[in-house]
Amino acid sequence: MSSAKAERFTFLVNGAQRTLEADGKTPLLDVLRNTLGLKGTRFGCGNEECGACFVLVDGHAVASCTTPLWSVGGKAVTTVEGLGRPESPHPLQQAFINEQAAQCGYCTSGMLISAAALLNRTPKPSEADVRIALDRNLCRCGSYNRMVRAVLRAAESTESS
């Protein structure tokens, strides 16, 4: 797009400070995937209706497809890549593996982000809490119950550690 509108934005992405020059209206999702190469955040609808593109912004799960870049200036963005890595998985990621809580896995990143936001504010959620927290994320394969079990399992594992 036209560079005339480019401004400078600084924010944290997965703990690292990033400064970008871009049109402030650019969706965060585009910046993450196409500028920063963080492909784990998925495009699903572009209209915050499905949750596939969720990221944490200051700990809250938000749809990156409709979040303009300007609005995250000075904030901390965490994507699925920032939750954990295979050698040091987030308890949620470990629990998703243990429960084999996916089929196609396309909604998984967004689900993990919603679950991480939930555990941030409610470390010991009930099953109903988990279902409500995941209700903004659509899964077409029908893996909801496995994901709920995984989130409850992760909550237990962090409690005991």
Partner: protein
């Protein structure tokens, strides 16, 4: 030792599974000196776990550790042509082929090892690829690796292991692809980024029957990031240097386009009436005359229907294509890479051998979605820019409104009863479009964009696969019950104002919904418990076993009647010869129907990966619950209006029932697929439970709160 020559299996022809058409062993596997085997399959991962199951089969027959098996992504360059990954056939076709090919490859390598080591072949065993003699001498697949050894046709004469010898097959190994997905690694086609890649968008017409009158693209061409606008008839595309630029250009293109639209769609509110009134090709699917005449005391009949259903993959379709010199490379999440190539060639004016089609994983796929269409879009745009790769990403609206739909259906069922309430004769009549318009099977390319070109290809009606292959609209129309007489008729509706093609289980969803609802209606009339009534007509012990196990686990006989709560059953054997599946449902009738619990017994013969089977059944039952309670493609007389998740709601996490899966293990029966077996039985179990709760028989899908309130009156 499992090196035995089959005699019981008779002559060497035909070869089992997909070996029948991909006969050379080298098409299936290749040993490498570095200590691994590459395994080739034409079946692709669509979220169902097939890559893991096939790796298990190969490791089992070759006596390898799982991590010594590398599954090669499907490509027209290197993979066996296995047509389409569909119909719950991947384990049957690819799994069977691999099982036999690997058993034979193992035998060939044992012969080579015996010669190399100078020991009798009977003294050899294989352990993680090492071939060890009881004398202590040893070699390995890797040491012996020699492509000429497998450069031969399979004979089908080496028996695979018996189920008692299995130690990898039959175990719940973790899915190989899930780790990448859980850690957010780039693993989907959407994530593929190539050097100098351009982003393409295609402006779809506003409605299925619209034609482009005028296009003012001056403003679009002036945009900084726009590389070119492609116009070919009513096909309009744009290429830009970046994705935001492509999206902005698409908006501007839409503003500059003038279309002629026609009211070509039927009245959604009277869809069943419309279907039944259409010209159709009528065929008798099956008929059976009674051997003895019994007097008919009464005749019952009912009409059931389902709407058009959307696939609704969470990831909109995406593809990449690159034209270099005169050869085109396409990256796609198509279910049928060879079939896609077959249709791309004429649509693009290329020869098939100029095109390589390579599979990359997409989001969950439940049938013929937009994957092939977007591959055409990318390929067509790539022709406009020699050398640079082109990525096309569909929008959510494209995916929900332009990919094919599972066709609407009407099913009439009629039964003659004797005075004891037993069924004397059964009649089942279907009205439906064909259930597949996949690429590769038709005279003209079955690709959306190809219908909009200046030199447009004709859009042909969807067809039904042969009944011997499970049929389409008529899938599962023949009941497994031992009724003394029946007549099954299919009216193949040719008019296709909305694009119809394969959706998970094809006609089985509506046919089983109809059969299993109607048998409940008959049982109620006869005053007999619906499970007991079904068992009267089931003599197949495997069928009886799933019904009995599901009802026992559910607690059917001790169920408590309470206000607003209902219990129901549904049963089918998928395609008549596939997996047996019984579903018991408990529902709660509030403002909407809420499915609380599903208990499912499944018999799929030999199970490769029990957790994989459970995962598929849980997921498919939840998807079927979503179809049954909520889903219908919405349209006015011109266009599809359900082009967002708001307009096409699906089940969410808090609406998902508990799903309890009981796998009936039959290691000595052939493995059959499980991805589609639960669709119909789930719908029927829910509808029967609604009747149990409210005394209202719901025969039109979906069973929305609005419909139920209307029925209560």
């Amino acid at each position: 030792m499992n090196l035995a020559v089959t005699s019981a299996r008779g002559t060497s022809l035909p070869l089992p599974g997909s070996l029948r058409v991909n006969r050379r062993l080298a098409q299936w596997l290749k040993f490498h000196v570095d200590g691994y085997v590459e395994v080739f399959s034409g079946k692709v991962e669509i979220g169902q776990g097939i890559v893991t199951a096939l790796a298990q089969i190969a490791a089992e027959e070759l006596d390898l550790a799982l991590d010594q098996v590398r599954m090669v992504p499907a490509s027209t360059l290197v993979s066996p042509d296995e047509a389409v990954t569909s119909g719950s056939l991947s384990v049957q076709e690819s799994g069977t082929a691999l099982c036999h090919a690997c058993a034979e490859a193992r035998a060939i390598y044992l012969h080579a090892a015996a010669a190399r080591l100078g020991v009798p072949i009977e003294t050899l065993r294989v352990d993680n690829g090492r071939i060890v003699s009881s004398s202590g001498a040893q070699t390995s697949y890797w040491e012996l690796a020699d492509d000429t050894l497998l450069d031969r046709e399979a004979t089908g004469q080496v028996a695979p292991k018996s189920s008692t010898q299995h130690h990898i097959v039959g175990t719940s190994v973790a899915r190989r692809d899930l780790s990448d997905k859980i850690f957010g690694r780039p693993c989907f086609i959407h994530d593929l980024e190539l050097p100098r890649m351009l982003h393409g968008r295609v402006l779809r017409p506003p409605s299925p029957d619209a034609t482009l009158l005028e296009l003012d693209d001056a403003k679009v061409r002036a945009q900084a990031s726009v590389v070119t606008v492609v116009r070919d008839g009513s096909f309009i595309g744009v290429l830009a240097e970046n994705e935001a630029g492509a999206d902005a250009a698409l908006k501007a293109l839409a503003a500059g386009a003038t279309w002629r639209q026609r009211a070509s769609l039927p009245d959604e509110a009277a869809l069943a009436t419309w279907l039944v009134a259409q010209e159709a090709e009528t065929s008798v699917v099956d008929s059976k005359a009674a051997t003895t005449r019994r007097p008919v005391a009464r005749t019952m009949n009912a009409r059931y229907s389902r709407p058009y259903l959307a696939h609704g993959s969470i990831g909109p379709s995406c593809a990449l294509a690159q034209l270099q010199e005169s050869s085109l490379h396409v990256w796609t999440h198509s279910q049928g890479i060879f079939n896609l190539r077959k249709d791309l060639a004429p649509a693009l004016g290329l020869a098939a051998n100029q095109i390589v089609v390579e599979h990359v994983q997409g989001a969950g796929c439940y049938g013929h979605n937009g994957a092939d269409d977007v591959a055409f879009d990318a390929a067509r745009l790539a022709l406009a820019v020699d050398g640079r790769p082109v990525r096309v990403q569909w929008s959510r609206a494209d995916e929900l409104a332009w990919s094919p739909f599972g066709p609407a259906m009407v099913v009439d069922v009629e039964a003659d009863l004797d005075d004891a309430g037993d069924i004397v004769a059964w009649r089942h009549t279907i009205w439906s479009n064909g259930h597949t318009s996949r690429p590769g099977r038709s005279k003209t390319p079955a690709l959306l964009g190809a219908w909009h070109l200046d030199n447009a290809f004709e859009r042909l009606p969807a067809i039904n696969p042969p009944v011997a292959h499970g049929g389409g609209a008529e899938r599962n129309a023949i009941p497994l019950y031992t009724f003394p007489a029946w007549q099954i008729v299919n009216h193949w509706v040719l008019a296709m104002p909305l694009r119809a093609s394969a959706l998970r289980s094809l006609g089985a969803y509506a046919n089983v919904f109809a059969i299993e609802s109607f048998i409940d209606e008959v049982a109620t009339t006869a005053g007999v418990d619906p499970v007991a009534y079904r068992l009267r007509y089931l003599d197949d012990p495997r069928a009886r076993a799933v019904v009995e196990r599901a009802t026992a686990k559910f607690g059917w006989s001790s169920r408590q009647k309470s206000d607003g709560i209902g219990h129901g059953v549904g049963f089918a054997r998928y395609k008549g010869g596939g997996a047996y599946c019984a579903v018991l449902a408990e529902i709660e009738a509030e403002a909407e129907i809420r499915v609380r619990r599903l208990v499912i017994a499944i018999d799929a013969g030999l199970v490769i990966n029990p957790d994989g089977v459970a995962n598929q059944i849980e997921g498919s039952a939840i998807q079927a619950t979503s179809w049954t309670l909520k889903e219908a493609v919405r349209f006015d007389r011109e266009r599809v209006t359900s082009d967002s998740w708001q307009a096409y709601p699906i089940l969410r996490c808090s609406g998902a029932p508990v799903v309890d899966v009981d796998i009936v293990s039959r290691p000595d029966c052939p493995a059959v697929g499980v991805g589609e077996a639960a669709q119909g039985p789930t719908a029927a179990a829910i509808a029967n439970a609604v009747f149990d709760a409210l005394g209202i028989r719901m025969r039109e899908l979906p069973l929305t709160g609005e419909r139920i309130r209307a029925a209560i009156g």
